[in-house]
């Protein structure tokens, strides 16, 4: 299991836009540099990218919920 951590505080989103599907679903392959979510802070959206490759397990932080820096956003199996 590998955790993907939030690089900064803000609001975490699973999807690129409200009507779109989540970036990743359980069982999806994740490569280094793949975007798995967005963090909104200071009117800016920052892509959260995987730093290790693996298989997506689940989002650990709620969609559109507040997150702190260093908080686990998602896990890779």
């Amino acid at each position: 299991m590998t955790d993907i951590l939030s690089p900064l505080p803000g609001t975490f989103y699973h999807k690129p836009s409200p009507d779109a599907a989540p970036f990743r679903a359980a069982g999806d392959a994740v490569a280094v540099g793949d975007t798995i979510g967005l963090i909104e802070v200071m009117k800016t959206f920052i892509e959260v990218q995987a730093e290790e490759a693996g298989t997506f397990a689940a989002y650990a932080a709620e969609d559109a919920g507040p997150v702190m820096a260093g908080e686990t956003l998602a896990t890779l199996a």
């Binding site: 951590l5 609001t11 200071m42 820096a69």
Partner: protein, 323 residues
Amino acid sequence: MAFEVIKPGLSTTIQDLGRPGYFHLGIPEGGAMDRAAFRIANMLVGNDEGAAGLETTFMAPELKFDADTLVAVAGADMPVKVDGAPREVWTSFLVKAGQTLSFGFLKSGARAYIAFAGGIDTPAALGSRSTYPIGALGGFEGRAVKAGDVVPVGKPSGALVERALDKALLASLPKPVELRVLTGLYWHRLTEACQERFFADEWTVAPEADRMGYRFRGGHPMEFVPREQPFGAGSDPSNIVDGCYSYGSIQVPGGQEPIVLHRDAVSGGGYFTLGAVISADMDLIGQLQPNTKVRFVNVTMDEALKVRAERKDRLARIRASLG
């Protein structure tokens, strides 16, 4: 000497103590959001307190140095590393030519200040090196730093001596955070019930909060004393005939979410301002992360001046300890 920006962080800008004197022309004073932390970072490397340094927000940069230098980090708490080896916040440390300064995830606070012996030596604009991005003024080409930028640093005025701040000299943070407020010119526009609620409610820092303004949500909307809107004011009860905004003043567009105007804010406009956060608490705002719980506390001018004097004394003790 110079350093190269390897990774820029989220919004890393060159700042100093700002450019007072142009606010009446609509150019904000700017400068470091947490002025005390900024001054201490400069003290730690033996600079004048107004020498330009970097302000990092939430996510710090990675920098590579082309010559030996002395660097200090102050303000927000996050792991500091030189070529991967840990260093401490609130200290200065030598960095050798070719070494890289990097940071881990933010632990507390919001803005860290990085000072360099000699100070950043980009051209000043209107008497300051502070970056005002919307005006494309000062800083590095008028913007936040980007990967690949090579930022010049001036000559240190003395020997490179590592220093550490005695952290007992720093103010302790109240939890929940309290921001002290002097009510203002338009306070009478709110009903008594609304005035009481404003100070009773718990507010939360909104993720939009930035150098222009810190927005808060979670409290009750404002309730205005009914009136016929004067000529020249907009139709919403939160509108006024245009007036001046001070640093720290609290506007509530549409009566919904209070915004405390900070260092890069506009100098006037057509929203009523219910009061202002006292100057002694403005640095603290610069260290608030989104989602932090905050209460506003009503104080008098006498209390505000007393706290300001205490703050000045604290800084003088820190200055003496590092001198």
